[in-house]
Subunit: 283 residues, 6 copies
Amino acid sequence: MSDSNQGAAASTQPRKPFGRILLTGAAGNLGQQLRGALSAWADIVRVSDVAPLGDAAAHEELAVVDLADRDAVHALLEGVDAVVHLGGISVEAPFEDLLEANIRGLYNLYSSAQKHGVRRIVYASSNHVVGFHPTTSVVDIDAPLRPDSLYGVSKCFGESLSRYYFDRFGLETVCLRIGSSFEQPKNPRMLVTYLSYRDLIELVRCSLFTNRVGHAIVYGVSDNRAKWIDNAKAAFLGFHPQDSSIEFEHLFPAGAPTTDLDDPTQRYQGGAFVLAGPMEPKR
Amino acid sequence: MSDSNQGAAASTQPRKPFGRILLTGAAGNLGQQLRGALSAWADIVRVSDVAPLGDAAAHEELAVVDLADRDAVHALLEGVDAVVHLGGISVEAPFEDLLEANIRGLYNLYSSAQKHGVRRIVYASSNHVVGFHPTTSVVDIDAPLRPDSLYGVSKCFGESLSRYYFDRFGLETVCLRIGSSFEQPKNPRMLVTYLSYRDLIELVRCSLFTNRVGHAIVYGVSDNRAKWIDNAKAAFLGFHPQDSSIEFEHLFPAGAPTTDLDDPTQRYQGGAFVLAGPMEPKR
Amino acid sequence: MSDSNQGAAASTQPRKPFGRILLTGAAGNLGQQLRGALSAWADIVRVSDVAPLGDAAAHEELAVVDLADRDAVHALLEGVDAVVHLGGISVEAPFEDLLEANIRGLYNLYSSAQKHGVRRIVYASSNHVVGFHPTTSVVDIDAPLRPDSLYGVSKCFGESLSRYYFDRFGLETVCLRIGSSFEQPKNPRMLVTYLSYRDLIELVRCSLFTNRVGHAIVYGVSDNRAKWIDNAKAAFLGFHPQDSSIEFEHLFPAGAPTTDLDDPTQRYQGGAFVLAGPMEPKR
Amino acid sequence: MSDSNQGAAASTQPRKPFGRILLTGAAGNLGQQLRGALSAWADIVRVSDVAPLGDAAAHEELAVVDLADRDAVHALLEGVDAVVHLGGISVEAPFEDLLEANIRGLYNLYSSAQKHGVRRIVYASSNHVVGFHPTTSVVDIDAPLRPDSLYGVSKCFGESLSRYYFDRFGLETVCLRIGSSFEQPKNPRMLVTYLSYRDLIELVRCSLFTNRVGHAIVYGVSDNRAKWIDNAKAAFLGFHPQDSSIEFEHLFPAGAPTTDLDDPTQRYQGGAFVLAGPMEPKR
Amino acid sequence: MSDSNQGAAASTQPRKPFGRILLTGAAGNLGQQLRGALSAWADIVRVSDVAPLGDAAAHEELAVVDLADRDAVHALLEGVDAVVHLGGISVEAPFEDLLEANIRGLYNLYSSAQKHGVRRIVYASSNHVVGFHPTTSVVDIDAPLRPDSLYGVSKCFGESLSRYYFDRFGLETVCLRIGSSFEQPKNPRMLVTYLSYRDLIELVRCSLFTNRVGHAIVYGVSDNRAKWIDNAKAAFLGFHPQDSSIEFEHLFPAGAPTTDLDDPTQRYQGGAFVLAGPMEPKR
Amino acid sequence: MSDSNQGAAASTQPRKPFGRILLTGAAGNLGQQLRGALSAWADIVRVSDVAPLGDAAAHEELAVVDLADRDAVHALLEGVDAVVHLGGISVEAPFEDLLEANIRGLYNLYSSAQKHGVRRIVYASSNHVVGFHPTTSVVDIDAPLRPDSLYGVSKCFGESLSRYYFDRFGLETVCLRIGSSFEQPKNPRMLVTYLSYRDLIELVRCSLFTNRVGHAIVYGVSDNRAKWIDNAKAAFLGFHPQDSSIEFEHLFPAGAPTTDLDDPTQRYQGGAFVLAGPMEPKR
């Protein structure tokens, strides 16, 4: 980590629950939300992204790293107790890009984490691994995978890879199948998939502090009125969302059902993702 | 619809979510509850029954129709966007009567609705389609059918017929397995099956406004203390009852369990229905 | 039964397992196959149909009866120990016709059977009660009902009605979801759904002689190579088909898959039935 | 019961729901909690233990009885309407001791209860019948038995024996798989398994007053944040815990997960029980 | 083992798969069948019973032992590699007798086996652990326990105890839920539950030689026509029965179903066992 | 395809079921088995590998192609009706190698197949996608993925990607979870996982000729005695293995179970694969 921007020497009083947590994808939308929260739980928060990360807080270590860079990732994991992995691409993209960031990058992360003895990774999976389930159904955490995009396929890969590292080495992972985590829902579909920032942080907290998680899967959705997901089998994590999209329902006044019954963006939980891919590579 | 009693010309400003909703069985107990509610959601509410319907409100069209009358039902469905079907017989009755009202009548409704391009029907099914499940079990929406009466059998028919029209033509239906919807519970069993009028209206609202429902089944029961039903798989409808029979528990003070373990009205969820039929025809 | 054509006085030595079995629909394709077989199991076989039944054998009682005729059906059931009910319509038909033969007729049968103390009915249901399940799935006897036609809906009614008579009165029924029972398969789909006559007779034998059947459901399909059905939960009936459509595969040489992926007659187990209805009434 | 210490003559106005309820294990931790509660529900509460029971209240009958004493237990059950059975050993112990108290004792209880026509027993089973399920799973009431101790095995025996008495004689039982019922959680694991005294009493109330329970199983756990159990299939009992361990979470501040992934007391729901046995007999 | 009757010095060429197998209950019906078979698989077969065991063969060690005698059982297990445990009571009996032979005796067996490092026990459980399932159902190896007798309850205890010893110590057990293993079926019910001696031996062979069994449950039933059981989830054991009760069907010619629908011996899989208990102790 | 070695002009009489089938991985062990079989089903068999393919038969087109070469793969798929995809790496390997051959290569295949309108792909997945399930369990086609190696992870990727292409474009795939397909089993584990060459060919035949397959999963295992897999839900494919490892059991005489209960190669279905990875890249 010699080449990273160390914001500060580690605190001299290591009394927080975790010594060092790594947050990847820290410059992104969700990363910014979690960056602050993690400081309450770890003496040192190592924050990482390919994008600029701003100034380091007193307890932070900054590292600009491309996840596809094997050696850089190996260095990034050194001395880390737990990882919150938001890094990589979180929307549909050309396969080549997903291959580098979400597939090669994830392998680099797990391979390095295992070598460094990291004990747990909180992995930002996505509800898009089941996005081709119909909107007239409810999926639990054992539902068959139905990715709705190449992005969704890359997240299926992450769930498989992390399962392997748990079965093989005992490296624990919680796969968060995050819905739509924004300031507020942006369209009617997100009334169902909305995850508030506060609930996201609570979900990460549960994922880090539950004493044993094994290889767990849990949907990241607030306590919205309508639900496509069922977390009953993940109750051991103790996640209870406090927010709901109900307060935003006025933004999208209820109308009669849309009339094109065959419109895949309405038929499937993945919404617009189901038509977004596959994208051609940018040349 | 030329022969029906038009309460008023259609509103000149069609800005409600639905253009025209048909409410059948409007003169009945539940029909009266819903008649008012529907006016908030549709420019025109066509209200229908075999019994007198009183005066038409400004936005209403009144139609006295026998559901067994094929041509009359065909006319009734003209220009309708969605149907809330409470019509027919809602208690045990001689088979001949159920055959006309609930079987032939339902076929007339669906056949006509399909021809007129109606998109969705909210169908008053009943928990009596599973009334022969024991009171010591909890049924979800996939539980095997166990009708407790010929009435229950007629409602099974309705669920099958509506499933066919969805699979065949995409005509959506929400089957409401309504429990005991009255002002208040009338006996101890209804503490379990009670559905408040307010929750009934909310259930119909969810059934009409959820963007996609396919062919859905949901139990219509308030948030009572003891439950024989589990709506988890219908969570996509977003139905959350607001009322509970708890406020009425004082009406039926708890006693020791009844002593006849073989009493079918106590053993089975259907209560007195399980002994009510089959009735002989009235001659 | 005074007005029926009694083929012979009952045997003076009633030593067969059953005293009197009623066979309805005896003039039809399957009825003719079973008519002979039943004579080995009952002292008297009462054979019935709306169509002519030919001459009565020594042990037979003939009765030309319209199932929709309540009083005639009541008389038909007198003195009967068990029923093999093939009567009614076995293809898609206008609703009015199905209503009379398969709905009203079935009620007449069960109502009369219960009053006469009949103990068991073997009911010819159909695989068309699940015909809208895809051909890329396997349905067991608890699969959700997905009728593919109004005919299929009428068979769903029969399964519900017979369930009610069992739960209410203990009148046992075996619902045979018969596939395609012909001399030989008539098209490629029937290679999957074929039921040989010999296997049909064996299935009826198991249904009559198993000591307890309760309300049972079983698929009637021979031991064909590809299967859409799974009878594992009906193993208590002891049905083991002896024949297979393999010997007829040469009639329909394998080709590449058909190219229209959306063709419902190829997508769904019901085949051509899924498009056959609803039929308009004959006027 | 002539030799027991009768606290008082039975009330002359038998107007409570139950005439006489027997409470065994009344001197224990939970017994003391329930002893008072039962007085509201029964004219007479017969309280029993091998340990001293203090003074009898006005409505109480006291009986010091060893459950392994067949004749004494027979006398204990005379005139009893319902039993709340907390008696026996509730921790890991040498097999000989469990055999006498929890196996022979339970047989004595059921055998006598059946002979005296007792209608219902509320049986203190334990979550230790499933204690070898991992802490990364959620068990419902149909989960395979995985006892974590000889104590747990003895409770499995109780569940089987009571099932037999229900199937054979209709003697109803509710098996309460009680978690950790203390004034407050004593360690971090109990944050998950905590059952408040108030919720325990409510659970017993539901178990006694639900009109039909058959042979029911329900977990006794408060509304804690993290859960290893799922009572959805027992919803017919109407148990809704009012308390939660959340108020005690400050006693056990969250730390990073413990590091020995193979530690069975952390891997399995049974906690320390999984290593506590088998104990050698005391000689 | 100094006080037991050593039939012969151990073979000097220990080349069979097992060194020493213990067979308990060797004097019983099934014990006699297995006694010979085991000699092919173990250098030494230690045969045990409370009843006389006849002469020892060259490779045999004889031990007359009461399973309730803790010290004797401890000695019995010394030097044993695997156990085939048929000992104890195999019919309904007074609880006291079952307590000694099947509960205390089984604890003695497992406790001693664990201390001596025995690796695997093949345990004769019984289909009577599920005997209160109806004859109109098919139970798989995860079906809820429904013992039909105190004997059945004692076998449930054995399944729980052995599960505990596996989860706690890794001592493997195969629970054989043996049906009716006799020379031939003795009544019509046994046409369903028949297990030929040859198939019993094959089942024990699979149970001993499968490399890993964990804690397994499997039904011991031949390839009979009608089946109440489903071994699909135990396919890893490789048990394929070679015999069938079909060859004995002529002994019990098929008749019409028995007429008393409520007769529990006909309604439940356990047959006469469901009424046999509880037996009073012999005094 | 101008740069590939055309073995012969296409037949002038295109009367076989398929016009052109592409076989990838044709130089490998299984490829050689299938190369001949395919000629009976397609007018032209395009055979491909990175390794030399020998001489082209009269009906063959030869193409030496690296699957990671996007443009070459695109050309390879031109004019193809169906694909049998055995290409890629079929053992544990460094991640970089798997990434190119099994991940990038598979994307290239599906992307190109979709653009060329290919209708169906038979994809050689592997039982190593579930290899971390214990050998004491039976997995069906809906079992949770438990890859036992990075190779297994790469096959999970293939199952997800092909699912996406089916849901998105209707491109059908049969995922063959092939066990151990060799001339004969090479070790005791393969007695369970053995798939004869003849059964492999039959499995491919079923996968190509079943009229609709959607996205199907099926295990490729012969009719061996012990089984870890259950194909019941794939019965619509009509696969019935004709061979069994029984004839090879003499090669691995049964011994007592191995003694290290914790040996992962014995505990898990994947055998030696569970320890084989992750491999370091070759540098």
